[in-house]
Symmetry: none
Subunit: 402 residues, 2 copies
């Protein structure tokens, strides 16, 4: 489908703004959802004039992680393009990954006579693990031709990136986790699952022994376990595919990292929605497509904080007029997945969406809520279809066939 869309692309001067309110959709408590109780007059007014609907990130019943949730918003089939756990971890820790990288989730563990006593090294405090990790980075900079990059995490967690001089063939990171998943067992030896993975496997073995040697005297963090070996996917770039110069505006590193994987510009910013809107305004003339990510709504959902989630939606609503004053040709406001407070986690529920452009029906929904969006002109559809729809509304897709 993305190939078909690519062939239909035509350029113009329109601006598309995709606002992702992370974890937007919810479930009712006493009959009302977070969106139902949120104070959001601007979103509601917008919904009345917009094309509304709900979208399904991966498939019915399937709860998406943030990776598949965003890739499908960007028009990439999330089943075809699976981002490895190591890659996501490294992106989340702020590493700027390159196509030549293999990324690994790592954690400190306690080993005794070859047996894992504690898979999390007693959850050592972050300031302790930071010191150990910095010491390791000083000692271990290269193994063979692979540059070794350590990325600090929280407590016992960190990431390791093996940066090669050139991209490796597909399958080069097919290596089993060394984590036995249970205490009282030895760690699993590095096991390549394809012949292509031999090169990375040899380096990983030497990496483990170098690290073990360096930290063997630490009382708790005297060993490491590795999981989620993964290559940076050779994924088509957003601009090549859609002809859109694109900017990611996100305060959390993982979302910037995901956006960079598909070639978006994603400058590091700190702060909250206000700082994001500042960057949007400042950069508005320089790009065609803007992905603006609002994290906090999801965080409150994950905490099970129903009112908190609703109030974060309200906070965004207050700032919405500032965004509207830019008058983008196409404005889509939605989430990357639902995060109902009652579930305290991502969920499989379709995500509410409003899409505003001069070329919509409108007039089908009275407010921006899950139940009103069901009445919308877009129905319930797979998320991967949102990009073509936005492009069409921006006049950026030619006719298919004569």
């Amino acid at each position: 489908m993305q190939k078909l869309i690519k062939d239909l692309i035509q350029k113009n001067n329109t601006k598309i703004l995709l606002i992702v309110l992370d974890g937007l959709g919810g479930l009712p408590v006493n009959g009302k959802t977070e969106l139902d109780i949120a104070n959001k007059p601007n979103l509601d007014a917008l919904a009345i004039q917009s094309a509304c609907g709900l979208h399904i990130p991966v498939a019915m019943g399937v709860t998406p992680g943030s990776g598949p949730g965003h890739l499908s918003l960007f028009g990439y089939d999330p089943i075809e393009w699976q981002i490895g756990r190591g890659v996501l971890e490294a992106l989340g820790l702020g590493v700027e990954l390159k196509k030549t990288d293999v990324a690994i989730r790592a954690n400190y563990a306690t080993i005794e006579d070859g047996i894992i006593k504690d898979r999390r090294a007693g959850r050592i405090p972050t300031n302790e693990s930071r010191k150990i990790t910095e010491r390791l980075q000083e000692k271990i900079r290269k193994i063979d031709d692979a540059e070794i990059i350590f990325a600090l995490g929280m407590e016992h967690r960190f990431a390791i990136v093996l940066r090669f001089p050139e991209p490796l063939p597909q399958g080069s990171a097919s290596i089993k986790d060394t984590d036995p998943q249970k205490e009282g067992k030895p760690s699993i030896n590095i096991t390549p699952e394809t012949p292509h993975a031999e090169r990375v496997a040899r380096i990983a073995e030497r990496l483990i022994s170098s690290i073990s040697e360096a930290i063997k005297n630490d009382p708790r963090a005297n060993f490491i376990l590795l999981r989620g070996f993964s290559q940076v996917p050779d994924i088509p770039h957003f601009e090549e595919t859609y002809g859109l110069r694109s900017l990611c505006i996100a305060t959390y590193p993982m979302y910037r990292g995901l956006a960079r994987l598909i070639g978006m510009d994603a400058p590091a910013i700190k702060g909250d929605i206000k700082e994001e809107i500042d960057l949007l305004k400042k950069s508005y003339n320089d790009y065609d497509f803007f992905f603006l990510h609002v994290k906090k709504i999801d965080s409150y959902g994950e905490d099970g904080n129903f009112e908190g989630k609703a109030s974060k939606i309200g906070e965004f609503d207050k700032l919405l007029p500032e965004i509207l004053s830019l008058n983008p040709d196409v404005l889509a406001i939605t989430g990357d997945h639902s995060t109902p407070s009652v579930l305290k986690s991502h969920s499989w529920h379709p995500v509410p969406l409003l899409l505003k452009s001069p070329y919509v029906l409108g007039g089908t929904c009275k407010a921006f809520t899950e139940r009103e969006c069901i009445k919308g002109e877009l129905g319930i559809f797979l998320t991967v279809n949102l990009m073509p729809l936005a492009l069409a509304n921006a006049g950026r897709l030619k006719k298919f066939g004569a």
Copy 2:
């Protein structure tokens, strides 16, 4: 997709109950459908709290048989997994098929000088054909290494199963029907359509000549015609796929047979819905998934009995509180296809569905009818997505990707 779902399965103690009201959906007479006029306060109350929608068993415009209708409810792509006519016939006659079987639809015919005079042997009464078939079973028990099993049908109809010592390769039952479909022609010779089918073809030839020899003096049923040669498909088991211990509760043999094909337990029971509910209660602690099949609603639809179909829906409704008292974690009530009384047959129309769990929006439908279900949060979707949705609502699917 089923492969993706299998990878996401996690087990817990939840119970899923799927109630199939066979042939549920209908069409209006004087503006109202069978569901509109049915007296069903319990179903209506449930619909208000449930996720509602409509599902399409195979594809838009395609009327499903009972095989594809049920397979898609169980999450199997009905286009990928086609159950042969011979297999369905044998299942319907109560044969417990094994993976080593080839099943054939058979009927008695009248032949004269090598020409078929009556393709149905004058529709001989069942008590006559039963005697002939029992006599055949006594005489013919084995051909080569294939055990021969006759299954009694109605009037001129019966089924024959060839049971081999081991499963045969794919394509082994690709043999043309011997029925010329018109009187006044000879029967078609056994014709294997692939080299794999030679073995079964040779046995079928010997079977026809043994049977013809045995019945040649019967005034009407002096020959047989064979159709729908088919192998039992090597279909993934339900429990392997979903991790659910599953029980089929059905009074009709064909539905039990279909369920057994995918490895469900399906004890023979007689009676009606009450006996089915008794079995459900008695077995409730021993299984995770229950498929409860209610036949009569379809039968009245097939007879074109509009009020009769509505009253059967009402009868089920009266018993619903007993089922609800079990308090299953996920309850889905739907059909395997629509059977509008005005059509007197299965139809292509989407099938109404209600799905109750603690994790639905609800509040979108006022009753359990076709028109109200259109307003539901599930929209109109392919039936094959119902199982993932039920599993998600039961907390039995992990997150996809990080």
